[in-house]
Amino acid sequence: MRASRNLWLGGLLTAVFSLAAVISFAWVPYDVTKLDIGAKLLSPSWAHPLGTDHFGRDILSMIMVGARTSIAVAIVAVGIGMALGVPLGLAAAARKGSLLDEVIMRGNDLIFAFPSLLIAIMITAVFGASAVNAIIAIGIFNIPVFARLVRGAALSLWTRDFVLAARVSGKGPVRISAEHILPNVTNLLIVQGTIQFSLGILAEAALSYVGLGAQPPLPSWGRMLADAQTMFSFKPHLAIFPGLAILLTVLGLNLMGDGLRDLLDPRLRRAQR
């Protein structure tokens, strides 16, 4: 098993932003909840490496704390998707063709059929804009992704000999799913989880951009972009840095996802040999 260049580069980018988020709990260059109007719209300098925004807040500090918001929202959203989607997918596969399978999979189709961002906007518009509601909205759309993935993989596993052996030895579908199917789809889940994680960060940025994600004073990359809009023409650094943060994080996660798939997916591994 050799890690690819993708994995290294992706892992590095992801690590940088995760580290920034972790460090921000203990230390940031400037307090992001304090405004210093006198120091507004400064261009990058030694005191403020990435400049300051229209309220005089340090952009580097805001990106660090914003990383926290993005990562937290994305992790929890992917967590919701996995926690609900994986059992649903396992159950659907265990009872293939039954009414349960139909209900679960058609329900998934229903969620899939909606444009996810529009529904997320609707949810936050109805229940109020907040980071929590953004998490729920993004999380809901992760459920069918994982349910489908797991069901598809599990279906092929159910025909395998070791599952047959487990059935013969008298194990019920719940135990087989938990002990034999789930461990064999973990690799897939890690890969898909990484991809969904990057999509979650994008979705959070999009929701914040339209004002429906994390609310002030909590910094968020999407809102930094939105705030920068009218000033972008004369202070480009306001939009460039949060934009780069989003771009690099998402790029990093996608590269890492690709790399992990190359590394973990047994089918691909065999093909490469």
């Binding site: 405004l35 109007i37 006198g38 229209h54 309220f55 804009a129 609310q215 004073p217 009218t230 004369f234």
Partner: protein, 491 residues
């Protein structure tokens, strides 16, 4: 043959465009769209921004400098006891639907506005009118229950315009007035078109067509202006872009005064704001200059009370609520909130509110007051805050002229109930001696500053961006209006 015709036509078109004829249409953008088109039954200033003086006229009208000029009433006489006003109406005035405008219409309009079940947003303007009498077709007599020094001023408001009983039914969609422009079309969510009224009784306007375009997003507004899709942006929402327009020879920037006292409205009936110490503490926690610089990029004049600084009776009371976080903390501790408290801060869309809100939230946090910010659309704001009074704090600009009287209304959304102030206000209405009025006004300004009813932030300035060739726009906004009757293009 067809081709020739086309060539000839385009040649003609080119000569017209290239000739000395000035443009006769204009597109004016503003941020807010009116909810409907009846200025006499809603508080929304956007209605007046489109219709005041263009489509609807009152007996008197505001001029650009805030002075009161004759409107449909060409002259008037006031009896010595100040109780009877006799107005002589302009002759030959017709509504846009062709019906004549006479004293019966004036009586109808004023009686409708002051009726028990009237939906007028400024009913208090008509409180002192006891009766309206149509003496003859051209003469109207107003009898007051008590002398009212501001009657002529009150009648100039957009809420007091003259409407016709024949067209009142559909006024919200099809406004029919007497003004120099007729209502043509309303594409909801986009624009309203007005056309020149060829039968106008007064001086005909230079413009033949006026398009009001509604662009709520500041970025889209900037793009539309830069692309010259719109000719004028009244109340340009992104003050940070003004230097760019100033540097561009295609545009002119006009920064004028408004009657907009921008305040941190406080729900005076809600705990802990029912405690005057808490309100005073907040007043000291707020750094006005930081808000003006941060939210408005320097546009705006600090105020210490609910009164326009360009008004002769204004008293500068900003010193009573100077920025002093230490004092604010001490006052909070005195009131029993050493550890601060939490409240809601509901913000309508304008940038003074959204940005100002973030700055105020940070300043209040400094003294221990945590605010939960929620951004509302105007309709939600009117419903929840203005009507429902379901809020702790909000930021809004009160753009009505000379509106200190709202503090005498305990049911107004900030729910300030002071018998002392109400007495003063009653005394002011009855007083016509200018010196005594000034003294009373000063006392009133002082009282609300002392009670720290609301956080008084700054007087809103109105930046208007226009193409360089546009002339005759109002610089100041004595009332919410875009009077297009005097606007023209200079070659």
């Amino acid at each position: 043959m067809k081709l020739m015709k086309f060539a000839a036509a385009s040649a003609l078109a080119m000569t017209v465009a290239g000739g000395a004829l000035a443009k006769t249409d204009i597109t004016l953008a503003m941020q807010l769209e009116p909810p409907h088109l009846d200025p006499t039954s809603a508080a929304a200033g956007a209605i007046d921004s489109v219709l005041y003086s263009n489509v609807f006229e009152g007996l008197t009208r505001f001029a650009e400098d805030g002075s009161i000029q004759p409107g449909l009433a060409r002259s008037w006489e006031i009896s010595d006891d100040g109780l009877t006003y006799t107005f002589t109406l302009a002759e030959g005035v017709t509504f846009h639907d062709g019906t004549a405008m006479d004293s019966e219409d004036v009586k109808f309009s004023l009686d409708r506005a002051r009726a028990e079940d009237s939906a007028n947003a400024q009913k208090a303007l008509f409180d002192s009118i006891a009766s309206v009498e149509a003496v003859d077709a051209q003469t109207v007599k107003l009898t007051l229950s008590e002398p009212n020094g501001s009657m002529l001023f009150n009648l100039a408001w957009g809420d007091a315009v003259i409407v016709a009983p024949e067209s009142i039914e559909n006024i919200k969609q099809q406004p029919v007035g007497t003004g120099a422009f007729t209502f043509e079309d309303w594409v909801q969510g986009d624009s309203i078109t007005l056309k020149r009224n060829e039968d106008y009784w007064g001086e005909a306007p230079a413009l033949e067509e006026v398009n009001f375009k509604f662009i709520s997003d500041p970025t889209a507004g900037f793009a539309a202006m830069m692309a010259e899709d719109v000719d004028v942006f009244a109340g340009y929402p992104a003050p940070e872009n003004i230097p760019q327009f100033e540097a561009d020879p295609r545009f002119q920037v006009i920064v004028g005064n408004t009657e907009g006292e921008t305040i941190l409205s406080t729900n005076n009936k809600m705990s802990p704001f029912d405690n005057v110490k808490v309100r005073r503490a907040m007043a000291h926690a707020i750094d006005r200059q930081a808000i003006i610089d941060g939210a408005m990029f320097g546009l705006g004049t600090p105020i210490g009370t609910h009164f326009a600084p360009h008004h002769p009776d204004y008293v500068d009371l900003t010193g009573m609520s100077d920025y002093d976080p230490e004092k604010a903390r001490a006052l909070l501790a005195e009131a029993g909130f050493e550890d601060g408290f939490e409240t809601t801060l509901k913000l309508p869309p304008p940038s003074y509110a959204r940005r100002g809100g973030e700055i105020i939230a940070a300043q209040l946090r400094e003294v221990g007051i945590e605010t939960e910010i929620s951004n509302l659309e105007w309709a939600q704001w009117l419903e929840q805050v203005f009507k429902g009074k379901d809020y702790g704090l909000t930021i809004v600009s009160h753009t009505e002229p000379f509106d200190i009287g709202i503090y005498a209304r305990p049911d107004y959304y900030f729910q300030y109930d002071s018998a002392e102030f109400q007495e003063m206000n009653a005394a002011l209405s009855a007083e016509s001696d200018p010196e005594k009025r000034s003294a009373l006004l000063e006392d009133m300004q002082r009282l609300i500053a002392e009670d720290a009813v609301n956080g008084y932030l700054f007087q809103l300035a109105i930046p208007t961006i226009a193409k360089a060739g546009v002339r005759g726009l109002w610089e100041n906004a004595p009332t919410q209006a875009n009077d297009m009757t005097g606007v023209y293009w200079e070659e």
